[in-house]
């Protein structure tokens, strides 16, 4: 009897399964089909086997875009995770400051992604932008359209400004869910602020931090709109990330086969890292609990 009641839950999942099938599985199947063919147009396609995969795997421009992407996502996680946790720890826990800080911190998340790029183009312009004009008047010739380093610095600032609030909000939600009794016990034991953070707050935030880490890794690894608007992948190819390069191949050159082949490799990379992060965070502190 119990078994039947448990299995009924599957019918409730069915609508989600149907939506996912239409929005993800069927398009993914189509991409797999495209990856083994040379597509010239509707009805004009020729089977080429794994030729596109071999071409893509030996394409130095894609290798460069891949390393750039890893560097970008690595920096994003290294900066945003500690910064978000730090902001959450500093946010007020009661009173009017809670609403004020929540609204303020959530503002960057409400802005459309392409508008973010436009805001930062204007913000960093050396002639009229607040940041660009200020830093140039200090004697530093800052120009993200000419210098790859400046383009990267601008991108990182933009990314951190845009998405650290998400980490902070998730970490804050995790902190607010910790019962007061844990802090009372810590005070009785004379625990330092660091010990309270390390042994109470951090383990209790594990679930929300897992979500934050996964979301930030996947989003930053798939980033497109903001760098496309801000730098267009330049100067040169210095900010051409995987998705920007893929769009150039798929839409610009209409090379659907190679683009599909690389999309699948891209998908496998995201899948592997998401799974690794998930496993790592699920197992954090488990050894100490025994």
């Amino acid at each position: 009897m119990n078994k039947w009641e448990d299995n009924k839950a599957w019918f409730l999942v069915l609508p989600v399964f149907i939506v996912v099938a239409f929005s993800a599985i069927i398009p993914l199947m189509t991409v797999v089909n495209y990856s083994v063919q040379d597509i010239f147009g509707p009805g004009q396609r020729y089977f080429v086997g794994v030729e596109w995969f071999k071409e893509v795997l030996n394409d130095s421009r894609l290798h460069d875009a891949l390393w750039r992407q890893f560097l970008f996502s690595g920096l994003v996680l290294l900066i945003e995770m500690p910064l978000g946790i730090g902001i959450a720890l500093l946010m007020p826990k009661k009173g009017w400051g809670v609403s004020a800080s929540l609204v303020t911190i959530a503002l960057p998340l409400l802005i459309p992604w392409n508008v973010i790029g436009t805001i930062w183009i204007i913000f960093t312009r050396p002639d009229i932008g607040l940041f660009g004009a200020a830093i140039n008047s200090a004697g530093i010739a800052f120009d993200h359209t000419a210098s790859p380093l400046h383009a990267w610095i601008t991108l990182m600032f933009m990314e951190v400004w845009h998405w650290t609030p998400l980490v902070a909000l998730l970490a804050y939600a995790g902190l607010m869910a910790i019962p007061e009794a844990y802090y009372q016990a810590a005070r009785i034991d004379g625990a330092s602020a660091w010990a309270t953070f390390r042994y109470i707050q951090l383990p209790k935030m594990r679930g929300v931090l897992t979500i934050a880490l996964l979301l930030r890794f996947m989003d930053s690894f798939l980033i497109y709109a903001e760098p496309f608007v801000l730098t267009g992948g330049g100067p040169g190819n210095s900010t051409t990330f995987l998705s920007i390069y893929l769009v150039k191949v798929a839409v610009g050159q209409f090379d659907l086969g190679p683009a599909a082949a690389f999309s699948l490799i891209y998908f496998l990379i995201v899948l592997l890292f998401s799974w690794l992060f998930y496993q790592a965070l699920q197992n954090v502190g488990k050894g100490e609990e025994r």
Binding site: N33, V36, Q37, P42, R45, F47, F53, I265, L268, L272
Partner: protein, 92 residues
């Protein structure tokens, strides 16, 4: 139903039918004999479904390495995937 827009080919159709049959078989197996989480040679506790996922994902990477590093026919790598998935399912 016209599926021309999906650009099906016989190899990719066989690939997806195989995946679907594996998932179906795993579902039936789960109903007949529910999985028990265990720890084998992999450094984590896994269910049967976890081990299948690890096997399939690992096979994907073996295929990438095969295509990127060798000029051999991809069909020759089939026994490697089957062996890898079998090993992970049995001892993982």
């Amino acid at each position: 139903m016209d599926l021309e827009w999906m650009a099906w080919t016989p190899p990719t159709a066989i690939f997806f039918i195989t995946i679907a049959l594996i998932l179906l078989a795993m579902g039936i197996w789960e109903i007949i004999s529910p999985t028990i989480e265990r720890r084998g040679i992999l450094p984590l506790s896994t269910t049967r479904g976890d081990r299948l996922f690890i096997g399939l994902l690992g096979s994907g990477y073996i295929a990438i390495a095969w295509m990127g590093l060798t000029d051999w026919n991809l069909y020759l790598s089939l026994p490697v995937y089957v062996s890898f998935i079998g090993l992970v399912m049995r001892f993982g």
